[in-house]
């Protein structure tokens, strides 16, 4: 018997004007549990305003190479589902802490069609990888101000032990670099 809980990919939004970015994964029994652990693991100290989780098996992914070779279908597990799809894209090899960024939504009958539409719609940068997710498989943290206060605001007051100098305690990056965003943390 497989005793592993399913894997969920976690998308974190650092501030209201930034896209949700894939930051890593958690194992959890259900969506609510996945969001709770994701908050603990990915947003205890880093800046955040919102988090999404998606079961890994609900993500349809294509690399640049797969697209170039025309491998558009992805096997039996990829089922047709008419509706909205969320599109995520990786455009840089420079980032080590995040993978794909959210770019928008398309309406399609299958994930493959969603990919084609995404390729036609989001043309401003070369895609190194695409992730396509049926909209109804995305679970989002509560957007109410109360939850944002409770889940994400305390991070700004937390201090850090610096790895190189363990006795040195520092404060949150946002205290030092006002008005700059996620690139600073990387």
């Amino acid at each position: 018997m497989d005793t592993q809980w399913p894997r969920w990919e976690v998308f974190k939004q650092d501030s209201p004007n930034k896209p949700h970015q894939a930051v890593g994964s958690v194992h959890a029994a259900d969506p609510e549990h996945a969001l709770l652990t994701a908050r603990n693991i990915f947003a205890r100290r880093p800046q955040a305003v919102s988090m999404w989780v998606v079961r890994a098996e609900d993500i349809y992914s294509w690399t640049q190479e797969e697209v170039a070779e025309g491998q558009m279908t992805k096997g039996e597990s990829y089922q047709a589902q008419v509706g909205q799809y969320l599109v995520f894209r990786k455009t840089s090899h420079k980032r080590s802490m995040t993978f794909v960024d959210y770019v928008g939504e398309v309406e399609a009958a299958t994930p493959e069609e969603a990919l084609k539409k995404a390729q036609a719609t989001f043309t401003d940068a070369l895609a190194l990888a695409w992730w396509i997710v049926p909209a109804d498989r995305v679970y989002k943290s509560d957007p109410s101000p109360e939850t944002i206060q409770s889940w994400f605001a305390p991070a700004k007051d937390k201090t850090y032990k610096q790895q190189q100098y363990y006795a040195t305690v520092g404060s949150h990056i946002s205290k030092h670099k006002v008005g700059r965003g996620v690139e600073d943390e990387e």
């Binding site: 809980w5 194992h27 609510e32 652990t37 603990n40 693991i41 409770s150 305390p154």
Partner: protein
């Protein structure tokens, strides 16, 4: 502030801080032993927050009597501690730990909500800081109680066993300390009696929805915070060992 009110406030802040320190240390015993890495990290986060709350409460006491928080936490023996017995109990299994954390988080969240409008400004300010974190803790432990209660026969049995053991102990959270009525009269801290009603209402509903039975006989219900279980001595021996090893050390 009149001197008897001041004394009572010092005692209350000590009790609040001591609960957090001991509960946090119990939670820290799971570090590296959690049922899954994600929960190991999550619980470590929660207990670090609780330690932060203790620091705030000790800090408020320091403003009143100049006592050093580190001295209070690491160089006071069990007779001087004013924690409740619930937080002293050994960590048990995951169900035991999650249930205790839930019963405590619910109490703390309700207490903080009621203490927001404290007439003692430093306390009201500390409450604002702590409250937002506590709301998240409660969501997390609430979710665990629900899942263990409704999970398998085994998880339900373990959680029920934890509840049978803890229910009486948890009632001590609502026993006022000597002199607390002075603080309530001045509007410095909330009255525990109506809080207990709210706590009973919330916890009963949630526990029953999770498929648990409230114990008919609540069992042992501690009252005075001057008395402790035998477990406090061993937990302090471990918790204080590093600090006592080298009392002059500035960093570890």
């Amino acid at each position: 502030m009149r001197s008897e009110v001041r004394e009572a406030l010092i005692a209350k802040l000590t009790a609040l801080a001591d609960d957090e320190v001991i509960l946090a240390h119990r939670g820290s015993e799971w570090t590296g032993h959690g049922p899954i890495l994600e929960e190991d990290i999550a619980l470590a986060n929660i207990v670090q927050d609780e330690l932060g709350h203790a620091t705030l409460w000790y800090g408020l006491r320091q403003q009143l009597d100049g006592s050093d928080p580190d001295q209070l936490a690491f160089f006071r023996d069990a007779y001087g501690y004013r924690c409740c017995e619930l937080v002293e109990l050994p960590k048990g299994d995951w169900a035991f730990t999650m249930l205790r954390q839930y019963l405590y988080d619910l109490y703390e969240a309700l207490w903080l909500e009621a203490a927001q409008h404290s007439t003692y400004k430093p306390l009201a300010e500390a409450v604002q800081k702590i409250m937002r974190e506590e709301r998240f803790h409660l969501q997390h432990t609430q979710a665990w109680v629900e899942r263990l209660g409704q999970g398998t026969d085994e998880s339900n049995r373990r959680l029920q066993q934890a509840l049978d053991m803890q229910w009486g102990y948890a009632q001590q959270l609502f026993v006022p300390i000597p002199g607390e009525e002075l603080l309530v009269a001045e509007g410095i801290v909330p009255d525990l009696l109506p809080l207990r009603e709210r706590w009973l209402e919330h916890s009963t509903r949630h526990l029953q929805n999770a498929g648990l039975k409230l114990p008919i006989n609540p069992g042992y219900q501690p009252t005075s915070r001057a008395y402790h279980t035998e477990h406090l001595w061993s937990i302090l021996a471990e918790m204080q060992s590093t600090a006592r090893w080298d009392a002059e050390a500035k960093v570890w």
